[in-house]
Amino acid sequence: MAITSKNPPALTARNLSVFFGANQVLKKISLDIAAKAVTAIIGPSGCGKSTFLRALNRMHELNPEARMEGEIRLCGEDIYAHNVEPVIVRRRVGMVFQKSNPFPTMSISENVTVGLRLNGMRDKKILAERIEQSLRMSALWDEVKDRLHAPAISLSGGQQQRLCIARALAVQPEVLLMDEPASALDPLATSKIEDLILQLKKEYTIVIVTHNMQQAARIADFTAFLYLGELIEFDATAKIFTNPAQKRTEDYLTGRFG
């Protein structure tokens, strides 16, 4: 399904299928992720949303039973090609998880720069700049600028999640994948994360998995509805949520199942 937007798509999936052992979890999914926009993946539990997200940054390779068919291209380049290292893909496609996980043995600033330092960057000036830049981008700078050396785990749940976002942004990825980033947070913290996403989309391509349809309606430009591993419908969010083309989408949105 082609989506018209001002830029060429940042990520394209063609006939993507993922198997865990003999179990086929994703069935020939093809879709274009628009650049500098928010794309939401919605669907009932077990429909393959997180599996699809993790295929976009080669995270399935950590699972020895996972097998993939099909193709995923990042700005035209096949990310699963033989000569492409997963580590490089993951620096261009970052990920934020459902449960915030700042490294407990590190301070706030150390957490932000860990991706840079462990990949070899030593220049203290650049690191200091990135700390401020990333924390500003994730709307956390004002709250922590006076205690950058405090342990990361001393922050509240919502702050920790924003720290994880800053950590992912510090590596300067092109795409940010978010797996239900606000589902463990209270409504106020959730609302801050959503505002942050709306800010970030000016610079980054964002793909967000969410089980909260209203969240998708609030922040996503495009929405994909997955069911039992298949892509049922993919369109502009406003269209899907007011007048979906597929009956299964309509049934899901009106609460008849899922």
């Binding site: 995270m59 993951r90 490294f103 407990p104 043995t105 785990i153």
Partner: protein, 283 residues
């Protein structure tokens, strides 16, 4: 609003509480008795001379266990050099790499080895080192203690690494950090206290080993001048003195036992101190 059996149930609750309390006291009592006896019989012998002098020949009073103290120290260092790298890396492999079937066999074997009586280790190393070298040696003693440490450290390291939540590994990998760097800089760093605890506890355990050293280090009433000479350790000295017919040696055996117990106590207290909660976590 009381049910019919209320007073009977209340009595049962109190009864079980008392029984459990008494059992707890029974468990702790032997340890307290040991400390009491050691302190009573050994404390008076603890003086500076005891810690700095060599054993005197039979018949002469006085003397100390300086060589046994140093010997214990040297053998423990050797054990750490042999046991810790292999044990920790083995634990890392079990936790972070490898297919399931192979790992299962390794764990199974390690658990069996942990249960093997330590004297068997002594005989094995006797055959491997003492016989070819035509003599007992500190080296053999260090090797046997190190070999005993390996399965202990490997299993505790693996368990501690498994306690590190998978979320940290995922987050690190998602940042484009390579697997080995993730393991060293994130996983091991997070579990470091636990790994050190495991090493210290293994040390506390082998510090008191006597049987395997009977065939390897053998014991020495004087200084060992090189690693290929027999060497004395505190438990060996206690053993030799205790089975001797000499009262003065008996007295020193008590003192040695007290020192050994204090050493083990010191290591355990150190472990508690290291693993204390330093931060108040926010909700």
């Amino acid at each position: 609003m009381t049910a019919p059996n209320h007073s009977w149930r209340k009595f049962k609750n109190v009864l079980m509480q008392v029984v459990a309390g008494v059992c707890a006291i029974i468990v702790v009592t032997p340890l307290l008795l040991i400390y009491y006896h050691l302190a009573r019989f050994g404390f008076s012998s603890l003086n500076l001379a005891f810690f700095t002098h060599l054993p005197k020949p039979v018949g002469e009073l006085g003397g100390g266990m300086a060589n046994a103290l140093v010997g214990t120290f040297i053998l423990l260092i050797h054990a750490v050099i042999i046991g810790v790298p292999v044990g920790v890396l083995g634990g890392v492999y079990l936790s972070e790499y490898g297919g399931t079937r192979f790992n299962w066999w390794i764990r199974f074997t390690a658990d069996i080895i942990n249960g093997v009586p330590s004297i068997t280790w002594g005989i094995v190393v006797w055959g491997l080192l003492v016989v070819p070298m035509h003599g007992f040696s500190a080296l053999a003693g260090g090797v046997v203690l190190g070999l005993m440490m390996i399965p202990l450290v490997m299993r505790t390291t693996e368990e501690v690494l498994q306690l590190v939540p998978g979320g940290y590994r995922e987050a690190a990998l998602a940042l484009g950090i390579s697997k080995w760097k993730t393991i060293v800089q994130i996983v091991i760093r997070t579990a470091l206290k636990g790994i050190v605890t495991g090493v210290l506890l293994a040390l506390a355990r082998i510090a008191g080993e006597t049987a395997p050293l009977l065939f390897t280090a053998f014991g020495n009433l004087g200084w060992a001048h090189s690693l290929t000479e027999p060497i004395d350790t505190i438990p060996l000295l206690i053993f030799n003195y205790a089975i001797s017919p000499y009262d003065d040696w008996h007295r020193q055996a008590w003192a040695g036992a007290l020192v050994l117990l204090l050493l083990v106590l010191f290591i355990n207290v150190g472990v508690r101190f290291l693993t204390r909660d330093r931060f108040q976590l926010k909700g």
